[in-house]
């Protein structure tokens, strides 16, 4: 892109009228920039919804062993237990015969006092995988995928973007050509192919898809940060630090990167949601994960053999599908609100 974004500066809001006022407790604790960010997020109903949704998923992931107890102590946790091998899926609340967990969780007996045996709360897929177990433990897969992929892509993108933006010249030219090469692949196509090639090498696990999403996912961060650094490094305080003899590495780490990072925050938050969608899409296509791994995309993929009678077996799509949608929605709502708070073009304007 040829447009250079405006420098992102965070200072007290324009609608404060420029008057001097006492610093709030929040501002004293975290500084004015973060204070504005936090205040913006907790006062916007959309982002509050997003935070609530995301916290709910964190709760589900954390308490997965209580919500969906594994059949026994030595059970490989991420493997969905199956009630036999029959093809015909069972509807929600049907009885769990084989391979049922030893202990019926206490909360379940409190809700339905007369029920003594454990059931398939959300039904089963073909091959009798328990959907409830897949949805609950799938939250852990989702958090794992989004945290690992987002962290690694951010680190990779920040390094490349920072080098390109800070040094400019041939370093910039070279790195940006590399970015362009990666961008030449439609994201999901590149990830699909790399994940599929990595599967025989790494074995069926969570890693092939994760690595593939990292390799093809960092370019957005690099481009974004490069632009922001180009804008930030011309600012007075950076020039002042340079004039006072600061080294390049000190300038970058202390002054340029922290101040250019805020737009990247928005991207991180939006990516947390979209990574899980891509990850689920890959496992829906049968790439990477072993069969029966607790993952929302995998559970949905069991519906593919019942296209003509989907209305009977709606529970195979709807429960994990809603989980996926809500998880992505949670992060996107937070990211969208963050963008509004941080976007200098929209700030303080009552259009």
């Amino acid at each position: 892109m040829t447009t250079i974004s405006e420098p992102v500066v965070l200072r007290p809001r324009a609608d404060d009228g420029g008057e001097l006022r006492e610093m709030t407790r929040l501002e004293k604790a975290v500084g004015p920039e973060w204070a504005r960010l936090i205040r913006g997020i907790i006062t916007n109903p959309l982002s509050v919804t997003g935070i609530v949704i995301t916290l709910a998923f964190a709760f589900i992931a954390l308490f997965a062993p209580v919500l969906a107890p594994p059949p026994n102590e030595n059970w490989p946790r991420m493997q969905i237990p199956r009630d036999g091998f029959r093809t015909e899926p069972q509807p929600p609340m049907s009885e769990w015969n084989k391979n049922a967990p030893m202990r019926v969780p206490w909360w379940y007996r409190n809700i339905w006092p007369r029920q003594e045996s454990w059931v398939h709360i959300m039904g089963t897929t073909s091959g009798q995988y328990d959907i409830w177990y897949g949805v609950i433990w799938g939250a852990r897969t989702a958090f794992f995928a989004s945290f690992v992929v987002t962290t690694l892509t951010t680190i990779l993108g920040v390094i490349v973007g920072a080098l390109a933006g800070f040094y400019g010249g041939w370093v910039d030219e070279l790195l940006m050509r590399v970015v362009e090469i990666f961008v030449a692949f439609p994201f999901i196509t590149g990830a699909l192919i790399l994940a599929s090639l990595l599967t025989p090498r790494l074995g069926r696990s969570i890693w092939p898809a994760t690595i593939a999403l990292v390799i093809f996912g960092w370019t957005g961060y690099a481009r974004q940060l490069r632009g922001d650094i180009l804008a930030t490094k011309e600012r007075d305080y950076v020039l002042a630090a340079r004039a006072s003899g600061a080294k390049d590495s000190h300038l970058m780490i202390k002054h340029v990167i922290p101040n250019a990072m805020f737009p990247t925050l928005v991207r991180i938050s939006l990516n947390m949601g979209s990574v899980v969608l891509s990850f689920a899409a890959l496992s829906f296509l049968g790439i990477g994960l072993p069969e029966g791994f607790a993952d929302w995309g995998q559970v949905v993929s069991f519906a593919r053999s019942f296209i003509i009678s989907l209305d009977t077996y709606w529970y195979i799509i709807v429960f994990p599908g809603v989980a996926l949608l809500l998880y992505g929605l949670g992060w996107n709502l937070i990211g969208d609100a963050l963008r509004d708070i941080l976007d200098p073009k929209l700030r303080g304007k009552k259009a």
Binding site: T2, R177, I188, L197, V300, G321, L325, D336, K345, A351
Partner: protein, 354 residues
């Protein structure tokens, strides 16, 4: 502007070189023995046969030698003929399609193009219309609703949405079916009486004056097109909206208003014209976005294009088909990028002059 276009064209070979190197680099994940299986149709049985293949195709040679061989092909030691070579159009043999990769690609491409074109029209129309309307009603009800819809569309997993469509409109109501044509018609289009000019069913049926087939083809396109729309409209809406909002704050808008121009003229002649420049370039890129989106959409709707072929190839580790698809979509995307950049320069004098 000529200098700018020339500069873009000069970078092009570098990017294409990088793209092919990256594709070939991904292949290096497999060991020489695994790769030897890609070059021969019958899987070699003994170690000696495997070794022979590895030596013959130089699969144990350094990366750049192998890359060069892959690009231009190798000369057969016995016959002296040049075999293989991506640059010569030989993308290898598709295991899942049981024919050369290039043939599968050519045969399946029209179906995907048809889908992509039918999806482009409503995506661009709706996306721009909604984006402009949302910006003009900034922070009012329409804007908020559009925004929430965009976020939901953005968060919706494509395959779940597609399956929900199938649940309601196929399994329950039986209004639309998956696939490309109903069984009866798909028999009819391969009969001698029906000429396949473009291999795009909606076009061919009209050229053959078969309106019943046209309607049938359209009915099969509705669900996949809707699925592709949900994601892409959200993206275009977002971009149009922020481009409009940015132009609305520019000084020339204030000037136009100060001159006493009616609001309609200010909006249509000044704001929208300038805001649509970046939007048009993004619209060009949605074609590329659709090429990625078709992988999932075609798979769920059992639509016989290159997307579902790529998904099958990836699931069954048909490596050469996958690489052929990757190469094709990358070249398409690079071309789209180039056209978009040039278009941008033509439309926006600010780019030309800087």
């Amino acid at each position: 502007m000529t200098a700018y276009i020339i500069r873009r064209l000069l970078i092009l070979p570098i990017i294409l070189f990088g793209v092919t190197a990256l594709i070939f680099g991904m292949l290096q994940v497999l060991s020489p023995v695994e790769r030897s299986a890609l070059y021969v149709r019958d899987i070699p049985k003994t170690d000696r046969q495997v070794d022979a293949v590895i030596t013959r195709y130089g699969l144990d040679k350094p990366f750049f030698v192998q890359y060069w061989n892959w690009l231009v092909g190798t000369v057969d030691g016995e016959t002296g003929e040049r075999v293989g070579g991506v640059l010569r159009g030989d993308l290898g043999y598709s295991r899942s399609g049981r024919e050369p990769v290039i043939d599968v690609l050519v045969r399946r491409l029209p179906a995907t193009l048809e889908l992509a074109i039918w999806a482009m029209i409503p995506v661009i129309g709706f996306g721009i219309w909604l984006g402009v309307k949302a910006a003009l009603n900034h922070n009012k009800l329409f804007d908020q609703v559009a925004r929430v819809f965009a976020i939901i569309g953005w968060s919706f997993p494509t395959f779940v949405f597609a399956l929900l469509l199938l649940l309601v409109f196929y399994a329950r109501l039986d209004w639309f079916q998956p696939g490309r044509l109903s069984t009866g018609f798909s028999q009819e289009v391969i009969k001698p009486g029906f000429t396949q000019y473009t291999r795009m069913m909606t076009v061919d049926s009209l050229l053959n004056l078969r309106f019943d087939i046209f309607i049938d083809a359209l009915r099969h396109l509705i669900m996949p097109v809707t699925t592709l729309m949900v994601i892409e409209v959200a993206l275009l809406l977002k971009i149009t909206r922020s481009a409009m909002l940015e132009e609305m704050r520019q000084d020339y808008v204030t000037t136009a208003r100060a001159k006493g121009l009616p609001e309609k003229v200010v909006t249509n002649r000044h704001i929208r014209r300038n805001a649509l420049i970046p939007v048009i370039t993004v619209a060009g890129l949605t074609l590329a976005g659709l090429m990625g989106g078709v992988v999932i959409t075609e798979t769920v709707f059992d639509y016989p294009g290159i997307g579902s072929w790529a998904a099958q190839a990836a699931a069954s580790l048909d490596v050469l088909s996958m690489l052929g698809y990757a190469l094709f979509s990358a070249v398409l995307l690079v071309a789209a990028n180039l056209i978009v950049d040039v278009l941008y320069a033509v439309l926006d004098p600010r780019v030309r002059l800087s």
